[in-house]
């Protein structure tokens, strides 16, 4: 493996700015690696070679004439395939949008390009970001670089797989119920879901509009902070993006927070948790204690996870999420009807309703159909009050729990996922079991607060384990610094998966 691929994004940027290498050289190393490895990982839906080469050359030219090419100059970044770009296709890994070419670029993507990043390509995802394994993709499933028989998580599984497998330097994902943090945990990388409204959603193909956020997926915490410095901030094109100053997330990153107050949500550390994960979290807590943090138990009663008689889990938050998110999705995805947008059936249709029905039946995968039906149902007259309205009330209670916890804590610490990466096809037969993969991440989106997942160790099967640090509204700075404290003290950072096919020889 080319040594350039081993550098973090910031190290690579520094190497380029010192003149040790060039953006073009770095890009070619990544393109080569993709050509060798992506057959196995299937992280990308589309590699945008020409555009990437043009951008790398532009960065190198700027450096030659002494212009400053930006904060992310020359860093090859992969972006999830629900982020619109004027080049390449934005398919959301769906047959429905197989040929969609957007006439605009998502604000977050435009900002990283403006900062000098080289966009490598569009990464695989669960169709329309609906899923937790990236198996719901019209392009086929992506693979976890730690174990090729396992899923990378989802829905930003392609981005996670690409970062962990060194097929990009960093990536952008989107997170509606855990879609950045869960795959980050399963692939042993860093993933941040920002505060709702911190990063513009303009150009992100909507799934659950009141929950969706774009965020970085990186090899370490510093890279994560660097990408946040670029993508965070108000965008007049997104009325839900907030006009608040963006701090320099890199500025004090290495300074430990004195007297950090950590809350352990009782509800997320129950006996039901996988014992290896429980132990990894306890170890992490010890690391913080040794750094002088004050640790105490807190309660998020409305995010409670209950075990039924047969050991099956349930949670208010998961139920609430699958009402709010699917309701919004049923409306957001209504435009894909074969007339306005999306795949149109080639079979003869009796009338326009028939045309809609056939096109949608052919264009959407099963999980998307399931969620559209669920969302349509909960909004239907006669059911609205019992489901949607009640879910909004539960959402308010969940948010209140977080607000209360942050009155006495700086961050909340808990696992990111209930288990390490699971096998391909292990959960595809039972959608409810798949939904529980997000049991610790979902309430964060409902509350709108920021949270990061960072690796805290490996399981006995050599699979990454992720820890989630949750902050108060707009406290990405606290979350990042706390994450950096652990990373630095524990030395658990930039976990490298075992070599894949070629290198193993």
């Amino acid at each position: 493996m080319n040594n350039l691929l081993k550098l973090s994004a910031l190290e690579l940027k520094n190497a380029i700015s010192r003149g040790d290498t060039t953006a073009t050289e770095a890009l070619e190393a990544y393109l080569h690696e993709i050509s060798v490895q992506d057959g196995a990982l299937r992280a990308y839906n589309e590699v945008l070679v020409d555009e990437a080469r043009d951008q790398a050359r532009r960065i190198d030219d700027m450096r030659k004439i002494g212009e400053s090419p930006g904060l992310l100059a020359g860093i090859p970044i992969a972006i999830k395939n629900n982020l619109c770009t004027t080049w390449g296709r934005t398919t959301c890994s769906s047959k429905m949008l197989a040929n969609f070419r957007a006439p605009y670029t998502a604000t977050a993507v435009a900002r990283i390009r403006q900062a000098g990043a080289v966009v490598l390509g569009k990464t695989n995802m669960d169709e329309f970001a609906m899923g937790s394994s990236t198996e719901n993709s019209a392009h086929g499933a992506s693979v976890n670089p730690w174990d090729l028989s396992r899923v990378p998580g989802g829905s930003s599984g392609g981005s996670a797989s690409a970062v962990a497998g060194s097929l990009c330097s960093a990536a952008l994902g989107s997170d509606t119920g855990g879609s950045i943090r869960q795959p980050a945990a399963l692939c042993g990388i860093v993933g941040l879901k920002p505060t709702y409204g911190r990063v513009s959603r303009y150009g992100l193909v909507a799934y659950g509009s009141s929950l969706d956020q774009i965020g970085p997926m990186t090899r370490d915490v510093a890279d994560c902070a660097a990408v946040m410095n670029v993508i965070a901030g108000h965008d007049p094109a997104d009325a839900t993006s907030l006009d608040r100053p963006v701090p320099d997330y890199l500025a004090n990153l290495d300074e430990p927070i004195k007297g950090l107050r950590i809350g352990l949500p009782r509800e997320f550390l129950s006996d039901a948790l996988d014992p290896e994960i429980h132990r990894a979290i306890e170890n992490a807590v010890e690391v913080y204690r040794s750094l002088g943090a004050e640790v105490k138990e807190v309660s998020l009663p409305h995010s409670r996870i209950d075990s039924g008689a047969g050991g099956e889990l349930s949670s208010f938050a998961v139920a609430c999420y699958y009402i709010v998110a699917t309701a919004e999705a049923s409306s957001n995805l209504a435009r894909y009807d074969g007339v306005h947008y999306g795949h149109r059936t080639e079979r003869d249709a009796a009338d326009i309703i028939d045309l809609y029905s056939r096109s949608r039946a052919e264009g959407f995968g099963d999980e998307v159909k399931r969620r559209i039906m669920l969302g349509t149902y909960v909004l239907s007259s006669g059911y609205y009050d019992a489901y949607y309205l009640k879910a909004l009330k539960v959402r308010r209670l969940i948010k209140n729990d977080f607000d209360e916890a942050f009155e006495t804590c700086d961050i909340l610490l808990c696992p990111t996922t209930p288990s390490p990466a699971f096998k391909m096809n292990e959960k595809t037969a039972d959608p409810l079991e798949m939904y529980l993969a997000d049991i610790y991440t979902i309430s964060v989106n409902l509350a709108g607060v920021p949270a990061i997942s960072i690796p805290v160790g490996l399981s006995s099967r050599n699979l990454p384990i992720g820890m989630q640090l949750i902050g108060g509204v707009f406290r990405e700075d606290v979350v990042l610094r706390a994450a950096r404290m652990f990373e630095k003290a524990s030395g658990i950072c930039r976990l490298t998966p075992p070599p894949l096919g070629r290198d193993a020889e």
Binding site: N82, L83, C84, T90, C92, L97, F100, A102, P103, Y104, A106, R201, Y202, G203, L204, V205, A206, G208, S209, S210, P236, A237, D238, A239, T240, A327, E328, S330, S331, A334, R335, Y336, D337, V339, H340, Y341, I352, I353, Y356, T376, L379, S380, S381, Y384, Y388
Partner: protein
């Protein structure tokens, strides 16, 4: 049983859609303009492309609040956007951004003048803002086109209580609403351009033998002229009564509920519209892409201050202040500009009566000929007031005044200059006037004799002689001087 006394009360409510005349659309910065080639005023937002987001046009909210204020509505401090879902080719996202339970304006009323001089208070339930849909174009038998220029245009929907009881009341309410939105400058309210559309809800409460029968409520969709509105209500009342007579028990609101009908412009009747296969369930829910609209006291106050005098108040004032007749006052409030012209001209010292006569005389005729409003003739308050003062001072006679108006409309210029140029100024040389009077008496001995004799034709003959003097003088003789001279010469006998 038809012998029993029967009382029929018509119950009519009205939904009025008004397209607001903002520069740009409701949620994007596309131009809001009628008549451009199809799909030229569109962008990714108003055609609902994947991944784009709406951004509210606060001008449209301001316009809506003005209407609400003028309708005496409550303007709640918190209102929000909702999505209304239905699949239709002219609706790009297959949902419309609208307002469901928390509209911008609610609980108001409008006092509507009726043709008999009375007025009626019609309560307004609510007025909410939404984005308009595009238009399906059926000009080709092979396919249907969709023009999305209109998609995303701000549309204010005003919903009345069912307070109207005759087609005339519905018509008067609709016309008053048209005047009001034009007056406020928030819509051109041009019916041909589809700026205003009506949907009346109509049924009958029929009392017979102590029992009240309610006929099913009919909503007539998408009426785009006053004629259609009046016709549809008139026809529905007849139709519902006839149908009720056939089956008084079965044709009832309880059994049949509500139904939609359309309007057939050719046959002047309402026609049954096939019910959609699925019962309509719009699945409203809060629009997650837009923050709530917060109207604070300062905003509310600035709206209140910007409204100014409304038509009916101005009419009352004109009647009191300038002693106008009620017809004259009505003519003066056809639109805001007309009354403003009167106000501005009188403020410059012109006598109101002279100004009103000029406006409702030659100017009104000219406006009719041109098909424009009085205020759009291009006659300024300064021109009008100078002209009125010249007339008052006897420097011009009425005929000359009319000529000057025509000249001002065609070429501009001040009345004094025009009068000079066209040689219209009244003759101030008494000798010359006396000569014209003598000429007129000499040429018309019989009428002169009638005036002298003071018989019953004297008055008419006097008027005739005045006219003759004016004719001989070429309109330059000052009428007051002519009258004085005639009187003295013909009574001296």
């Amino acid at each position: 049983m038809s012998e029993q006394a029967t009382e029929v009360l018509a119950i009519v409510g009205l939904e009025i859609h008004v397209e607001l005349a903002t520069e740009t659309k409701m949620f994007c910065r596309c131009r809001n303009r009628f008549g451009d080639p199809p799909n030229t005023n569109v962008c990714p937002v108003c055609i609902g492309m994947p991944g784009v987001l709406p951004v509210m046009n606060s001008k449209a909210v301001e316009y809506s609040l003005k209407v609400g204020q003028a309708l005496n509505c409550e303007l709640p401090s918190y209102s929000k956007w909702d999505r209304k879902s239905y699949y239709y080719p002219d609706l790009p996202k297959n949902y419309q951004i609208s307002q469901y339970d928390l509209p911008l304006c609610k609980d108001g009323y409008l006092d509507v003048p009726l043709p008999d001089g009375s007025s009626k208070r019609i309560r307004v339930l609510r007025a909410h803002l939404e984005e308009d849909a595009g238009k399906n174009i059926h000009d080709n038998p092979a396919h249907t086109g969709v023009d999305l220029n209109r998609a995303g245009v701000p549309l204010l929907e005003i919903v009345s209580q069912p307070d109207m009881n005759t087609p005339q009341e519905a018509l008067s309410f609709a016309r008053e609403m048209q005047r009001l939105v034009r007056w406020l400058g928030v819509s051109e309210a041009n019916m041909q351009m589809g700026h205003m559309r009506f949907e009346p809800n109509i049924n009958l409460h029929i009392t017979r033998g102590g029992t009240v029968y309610k006929t099913p409520i009919v909503e007539v969709k998408n009426l785009n002229s006053f004629k259609a509105l009046e016709g549809a209500v008139t026809h529905e009342l007849k139709r519902q009564y006839a149908q009720w007579l056939e089956d008084p028990e079965g044709f009832s609101l309880d059994r049949k509920g509500k139904q939609n009908r359309g309007w057939d412009d050719q046959r002047n009747i309402t026609v049954f519209q096939r019910e959609k296969e699925e019962a309509h369930d719009y699945r409203y829910f809060p629009e997650p892409d837009l923050p709530a609209v917060v109207v604070d006291d300062a905003w509310r106050e600035s709206i209140r201050a910007s409204i100014g005098e409304l038509p009916l108040a101005r009419r009352e004032r004109f009647i009191k202040q300038h002693q106008l007749g009620s017809k004259e006052a009505e003519a003066m409030i056809q639109d805001a500009d007309t009354g403003n012209l009167l106000d501005d001209a009188t403020a410059m010292g012109a006598p109101p009566r002279r100004v009103v006569n000029l406006m409702l005389g030659r100017m009104s005729a000219a406006a009719n000929e041109k098909g424009c409003a009085l205020g759009q003739l291009g006659v300024s308050a300064a021109q009008l007031s100078q002209l009125a003062i010249m007339l008052e001072e006897g420097k011009l006679n009425a005929t000359a005044g009319d000529k000057i108006i025509d000249h001002m409309i065609a070429n501009g210029g001040s009345p004094l200059e025009i009068a000079g140029k066209l040689n219209l100024l009244a003759e101030s040389n008494t000798a010359a006037v006396e000569q014209w009077v003598d000429q007129a008496i000499a040429a018309n001995p019989d009428p002169a004799q009638q005036v002298r004799s003071g018989d019953k034709k004297a008055k008419q003959a006097f008027g005739f002689l005045v006219g003759q003097v004016m004719r001989i003088s070429g309109g330059k003789a000052p009428p007051s001087a002519v009258k004085e001279l005639l009187e003295s010469k013909l009574s001296a006998k």
